[in-house]
């Protein structure tokens, strides 16, 4: 932002402030009154809220006592946010709450639901209180609504952000775990692939395998794709390239566990599988690999 823009903005704000000063003052007077009312009726409103939460079958993952304890804290934070019109404390609390309840399977709609319920409970108590004075009720609601909406917004956004952070973290973890290269015998590696192969994983696959071949001095690699549900042309080509690159490092690759669906797609899209050595299942693949390496597995006579 340039200096000029900055100045203009400050001026605008000042003008707005001058225009709205009286109004703002009136609002804060109303808010104070509101807060006093909410403080007075704390116990009753809090109970009402907790009851409504249970009734609406939200937060089913939590026990009644827990809901009540959280409800109390949220209520106090809520009133405080209304009073001070600062949202940092509430934001921090929302994040903390999300951290605790996300692992327990609480959904976004539940969190949004309980905040909206609280908003509703409080609004109803205001209706009840100012029933006789319609003008006053209107002004009170004018003061209450924007602040309440902002609180609901803050809590919901805090929850979603926390959730997204958790998802990102998990994605990272899955990515790290997604292509393990395991040694089953001297010079024999297996690479079980489970789940969807997205382009990023497809890129990672040859990298990890080739590195594994070199560090383990592998001669035979069994790539097991029993756990792969579907495969497109790009991924199939990556697999073929991985096989060829492994051969350049002196390792033979055996691919096992191609599902009927994958076999059909691969033949239909015309991927050249001539260079691929395929065996029906992982056991067969390992047996063939053992033959290639000159191992012979014999059962011990008399062993249980």
């Amino acid at each position: 932002m340039t200096q000029k823009d900055g100045n203009r903005e400050i001026k605008d704000v000042q003008e707005d402030y001058a225009l709205g000063a009286n109004q703002a003052e009136a609002i804060s007077v109303l808010l104070r009154e509101l807060v006093a009312h909410l403080r007075q009726n704390r116990t009753q409103l809090r109970e009402e809220w907790a009851r409504r939460i249970t009734e609406a079958q939200l937060l089913t993952a939590m026990s009644k006592d827990e809901i009540f304890a959280e409800a109390t804290t949220v209520y106090d934070n809520y009133v405080e946010a209304l009073e001070t019109e600062t949202f940092e404390t509430l934001q921090a609390y929302a994040r903390n709450l999300s951290e605790r309840i996300i692992p327990r399977g609480v959904e976004t709609h539940e969190v949004v639901g309980i905040v909206l319920l609280l908003r509703d409970v409080l609004a109803r108590s205001l209706f009840a209180k100012y029933r006789s004075d319609f003008n006053k009720l209107n002004r009170i609601l004018d003061a209450y609504e924007p602040a309440a909406n902002r609180i609901a917004n803050t809590v919901a956004v805090g929850f979603v952000q926390e959730r997204e952070r958790v998802i990102r973290q998990q994605q990272e973890a899955i990515r790290e775990l997604s292509t393990p290269v395991l040694q089953v015998r001297e010079r024999l590696l297996i690479l079980p692939i489970i789940g969807v192969i997205d382009p990023q994983r497809a890129r990672q696959l040859p990298e990890q395998l080739l590195r594994g071949i070199r560090t383990n001095r592998a001669k035979v690699v069994v790539i097991d794709i029993t756990g792969v549900a579907a495969m497109d042309a790009t991924v199939a080509n990556h697999l073929v390239q991985t096989v060829e690159a492994s051969r350049l490092l002196g390792a033979t690759v055996i691919v096992t566990g191609l599902s009927p669906e994958i076999a059909q797609t691969l033949v239909k899209i015309g991927v050249d599988l001539g260079k691929m050595n395929t065996v029906g299942d992982l056991q067969g693949g390992i047996e063939q690999a053992e033959r290639l390496l000159g191992y012979k597995v014999v059962p011990i006579v008399g062993a249980s």
């Binding site: 080739l210 071949i213 390239q241 350049l248």
Partner: protein, 120 residues
């Protein structure tokens, strides 16, 4: 830079030590196909561990060398292709079809010895 060619028993070992120009590679080719019969070798190992790039000319020429050496009555193994090099070669379609490859010099020697044993 000239590539040294060492004789070790029945095997000739050419170790490429730095990036080669096209002329160097052609020179290596001539030297190898001459020496393989002169030294009565049964196998040739070309060690490319030091190469971090393998272009189409180099890989095509190495493949030709392997074919020529076969015609001269010996086996060729290319050893020490780096993982990154291997993958970029495959992406360029330079897959060295019908040329034997091995992880490193030791593996290459083991492979040739096995072959010799099978043939004798």
């Amino acid at each position: 830079m000239e590539v040294p060619i060492l004789k070790q028993g029945d095997v000739l070992i050419a170790t490429i030590q730095a990036a080669l120009t096209d002329a160097d590679i052609l020179h290596l080719r001539t030297a190898l196909i001459h020496q393989v019969v002169r030294s009565r070798s049964r196998g040739v190992i070309i060690d490319v561990t030091a190469l971090d790039v393998m272009d189409s000319f180099a890989s095509r020429t190495l493949r030709e060398v392997a074919h020529m050496i076969r015609l001269r009555g010996a086996e060729t193994v290319i050893v020490g292709i780096q993982p990154e090099v291997a993958f970029s070669m495959v992406q360029l379609g330079l897959t060295m079809v019908d040329v034997s490859t091995a992880l490193d010099l030791e593996e290459g020697l083991a492979y040739l010895n096995q072959k010799f044993k099978a043939n004798s």
